[in-house]
Symmetry: D2
C-alpha cells in the first residue's frame, strides 16, 4: 500500500491561508468534491475562534489532475477570493528545484544528497555551491554539479552576484547546509525563493558563532540544532524544526560538535523534507508544520 501522500501523477496539494471565518473548510472541500477529487489527508489549524488566522493543507487525488488545474483554479479564485484568502495549488508529482550552499563540513550536505538519491525527499538538487573546493568530489559522485564560488574578503557582493546568476529563476528553495557566510538582505530579496538554514544550537540559546563552545562553557546537559527560514535578522527567522541530544561533563567541545552534527543533519533533512512536501506554512515569524 503506498503512503497516501506518495507523489503520483494525480496527487494534488492545496494550501489555503488567511483570516479565519465560518465556512472555509466547506468552501474548499466543495470545490474539490465537485471536481471529483478524493481528499487523502487534510490538516487545518486556526489561531482562535474569532479574529484568528486560518491555515489548511489538503492532499487530494484526482484522476487527470493536470487537465483539471485551470478549472480548479478558477473555482478557487471565486470561492476563496471573496473571503480574502490566499491559496496555492500544487502538483505533487513535480519535485522542488533545490540548490544547496555549503562550506567545508560535509555532514548536512551528504545527508541531503543521500536522502534525495534514496527518494526520501521530493526534490531535484540542481547544484551545490561552495566557497571552498573541498567537497567537490563527494558531490559530483552523486552526479550533481558542484560550483566553487570563492568569497574574497571584502568582496562578498561579487560572490553574491555570481550566486544570483546561478540561482535566480532556477530554484524553488535554497538550503544552507552549514554555509559559513552571512547572507545579505539584498541577496534574500533578489533570490526569489525561500532559504532554509541549519543553526548548530537550540535557538534562541547560543545565537551567533561558536555555539558548541558556548554550550560547553555554560555546562548545559543537552545540545541541539535548529532549522529555520533565513531572514535579515541573523538567527531570528521562523523556526521549522529543532531537536536535542543529551551530553554530559565528559564531552569536550569537539565531542559536542560530533554529537551535534548528528542532530544537525537530522533536523535539516526533516525541515527540507517538510518544506518540499508543502507542509510548512508561515504565520508571522512562526511556522505551522502540518
Amino acid at each position: 500500500m503506498p503512503a497516501p501522500d506518495q507523489p503520483t501523477p494525480d496527487l494534488g496539494r492545496l494550501i489555503v491561508q488567511g483570516a479565519d471565518q465560518p465556512g472555509i473548510v466547506s468552501a474548499v472541500s466543495s470545490v474539490l468534491a465537485r471536481a471529483g477529487a478524493n481528499v487523502v489527508s487534510l490538516d487545518q489549524y486556526s489561531t482562535g475562534f474569532a479574529g484568528g488566522r486560518f491555515f489548511q493543507r489538503t492532499a487530494f487525488h484526482l484522476d487527470g489532475l493536470a487537465g483539471h488545474l485551470p478549472t480548479l483554479s478558477a473555482e478557487l479564485d471565486e470561492a476563496l477570493g471573496s473571503l480574502g484568502l490566499s491559496y496555492r495549488l500544487i502538483e505533487a508529482r513535480k519535485p522542488k528545484r533545490v540548490a544547496i550552499m555549503a562550506s567545508k563540513s560535509d555532514h548536512c550536505l551528504l545527508d541531503l544528497l543521500w536522502r534525495q538519491r534514496r527518494g526520501e525527499i521530493p526534490m531535484n538538487i540542481a547544484m551545490v555551491i561552495s566557497n571552498h573546493p573541498d567537497l567537490g568530489e563527494d558531490v559530483r559522485g552523486f552526479g550533481i554539479p558542484f560550483i566553487h564560488v570563492p568569497v574574497e574578503k571584502g568582496a562578498k557582493d561579487v560572490a553574491e552576484k555570481e550566486h544570483l546568476k546561478l540561482l535566480k529563476g532556477n530554484i524553488d528553495l535554497l538550503v544552507l547546509a552549514r554555509y559559513m557566510q552571512i547572507i545579505s538582505g539584498d541577496f534574500l530579496e533578489e533570490v526569489g525563493a525561500p532559504v532554509i538554514n541549519i543553526h548548530h544550537s537550540f535557538l534562541p540559546a547560543f545565537v551567533g558563532a561558536g555555539p558548541y563552545q558556548k554550550a560547553r562553557d555554560r555546562g548545559v546537559k543537552l545540545v541541539g540544532a535548529t532549522a529555520h527560514y533565513v531572514t535579515e535578522d541573523l538567527d531570528e527567522g521562523p523556526i521549522i524544526e529543532q531537536d536535542v541530544v543529551r551530553v554530559s561533563h565528559h564531552e569536550t567541545t569537539p565531542d559536542l560538535q560530533r554529537r551535534g552534527a548528528d542532530v544537525e543533519r537530522q533536523v535539516l533533512s526533516r525541515a527540507v523534507t517538510w518544506h518540499c512536501e508543502d507542509r510548512v506554512l508561515l504565520n508571522g515569524n512562526q511556522t505551522v508544520v502540518f
Copy 2:
C-alpha cells in the same frame, strides 16, 4: 487566548468513520457550515485511495450548540447515512464519566487524580475500585469515592458482579491503573464502556507477568509502557500510546520498576486524556490517534 479545543459550552466534536469515497469531507463540512459552525480543528485520515477506510475528527465552535444538536443530527443522518458512514456528535463541555480500578501501586492512579484536579483531563472520576484497601485514604483525600471490592481466590465472578453493579450505566470509560487482576470476557461485554489498561512493558515485548524481570534478564537498553484498550486476548488489544526510557546495566529489577513507573503514569495519562478528548478512533485492532 484559549486553546482551540478548550471545552466551552459551545464546542462540539464530530467523529466520522467508514468506507472512504470522494465527497465525505465536503458533505460533513457543508452540514457544519450551513449551521453556522466554525471549524477550529480538523483531522482526517484514509487508509488508501480506493477501498480504504476513512476517519475524521472535527472540532467546531457553534453558538448555542446544545440547541442545534437535533437539526445537526438530522442533517448528518441524511448526509452520511446514504454513504454508509457512522458518526458521533459530542458536546465537549460534558466531561467523560470515568471509573478507575487499581490494586496497591499508587503511581498511575495518583497521576490521574492529580491531573483531573488540575483540569488537565476532561473527565469526572466517579469512583475508584480496588481489590485492596491500601489506597483508600489517598483517593478520598481527592474527594473521590473509594470502594474496596476484595477478589477472593476462585470467586472472581462474585467480585465482577459487584463491579458491574457499580459501573453499568454510570461510566463512559473504565481505566485499569495497574489493576492486577485479569478481566473476564463476560465483564467486558457487560460493562458497556471501553476499558483502557496500562501494561508495564513496550508491547509486544514481554507480554504477561513480570515484564521488568524479563527485561532485566534479556538485558534490554530501554524499558517502556503501553496503554491499550482491553480485549479478551490479554495484552493484545489496540495500542493507544507507548513510550520508553533508557536504562543501563546498572539498573536492578527494582530500579527498572521505578524507572518504568514514571513512564507508565505518563503513558496512561496521555492515553486517557486523548480518549476523553475523543481523539482515539478504532481501526480494527489498531488505533488512529488524532
Copy 3:
C-alpha cells in the same frame, strides 16, 4: 538483588576532588582496601591529562562502617592532604535533611513529596515553606510540616530572616520547587546549605520571567526545564539537569505551561535525587554528575 548503591547501614560514599596528578585513584583505593572495604561503584573524571581537575565518587561496602570512620578519615587526611585534594566521607544510611520552598504551583512539590514517600529519594523533608497558604493541606497530608511565611512587598528581608531562623543548621539542602521569589545573596551566604532551583525553560534560552510566553512568541518546537544550583546571578548557576518535550503550533501558552510542568517535575526530581546520592560535584560554574 539490591541495587549496588541501595543505602544499607554499611554503605559509604567517598567524594574526592582537586588538582589531577598520577596516583590518586591508587591512593584512595589503597586506603579503602586496607580497611577491608569492597568498592561497589566508582566514577572518575578528569578535565585533562596535565593541569586538569580531578573528580571521583566511590561507593563502597564496609561491615561496621560507622566504627571505621575515624580511622578512614585519618588515613584519607594523610593520603590526600599531601596531594592537596579535598574529600567528603559520607554514610549513605543517613538521608539528607531537606526543606522545600514553594508558592502556588503544586506539581514540582507534590512530585518530591510523593517520591520521598515511595522511598525513591534518600532524603527527609523537614518542612515546606511557602509565601502562600494554598498548598498547606496537601503537604500536611503527607505528614510534613507546612509553614506559611508571607512575603510583604518591600519587606523581603523580614521574610528571609524568618526563613533563616527555620532553616539554619536544620538542613543539608534547600529546594525551590517553583518558589516565585528572588533569593538574596545574603540569604544564600547565610543559609549554610546548597540551594537547587527549577527554572521553567531550557536555559540559557528564555531567562527571567514568563519563559513559556517567550517560547510561544519565538515559535520554538521544544520546551524544557533546567534544575540548577542557585547563585547570586539569577538563572546563571551551575546546571544539574535539563530536559525538553516536543510542542507544535497547536499549543497555546497555557498548553506549554501544562506540557512544561511535566518536564519540570521530572527534571527537579532527578536533580534532587542525584544531589542526595552525592552524585553532583561542582566544577566551577559547571557540574560533574556521576
Copy 4:
C-alpha cells in the same frame, strides 16, 4: 582540549573482569600508579556485594606506553592472576581491524564508512563483503576494497568458506550492516572475532523477518532497532544498544522502513564505536557498556 579518551600514542586501556572481591580496584590502580600512569577515566561495576561479578574499564595515560607493556603485563599477571581475574591491556592508538558484510541496503554501511572517514570511530575498515554487487561503487569511492561473494541457494557453506578465507586472522571485528543471510554456528566459531548485527526492531519484539510489517500490523506507536552480538540463536545474542522513533497511524510499512533506517544506522554506529573503544563487556548474555 583533547577528549580524555582521544587515542594518542600513550593512551592505554585496561579491562578487568571476574569474581568480585575486596581489593581489586586497589590492586589494579597500584600497578598503574607504580608504572607512573595517570588514570584519565575509570568505570567500575559489580553485580552485587558478595558472589557478584566484577567489571572495570580504565583508560590511562603513560608516557612511552608501548615500552611499558611487558612490565605492566607481568605485574598484572601477578596481581590479578591470584584473584582469578582476567584482563585485557590495550593500546588505544591501534584502531580495530574491521570487516563489514552488507547486502543491498546502503544506510548502515554508508554511515559506518562516513564516520570512519571523519575519524569518529577508531577502526580501519579492511574490506566490505556483499552477496550482491550493487554497493560496490559506493564502497570503493571511500577507497575501501569491496568483495562480491554471491551466496547460491543451498550452497551457503561454499560462500562461508570464502568468507573465512578473507576474514580469518585479518580482523578484530565483523559487522553485519543489514546482511540478509543467516550466519552458521560453524562460521561464528571459526571466524575468530566478535560479530555485531543490527536487527531492525526493538528486540525482543518482532524477532525474525519482516519486523516493520509486523510492527504495522500490531499498530505500535514506536519502532526501533537493536545492535547485538551474534550468537547461534538468531536474534538472541547480547544486546549492545537500542533506540526507537515515534510513529503514527499515518505511516505505511515503507514509511516505517524509512523511519527505522535512520534509527538503525545510529544504533549500529554507536554500538560499533563503543566496541572499538573497548567499552562493551560481556556479562553472560547481557552487556556492560561503560
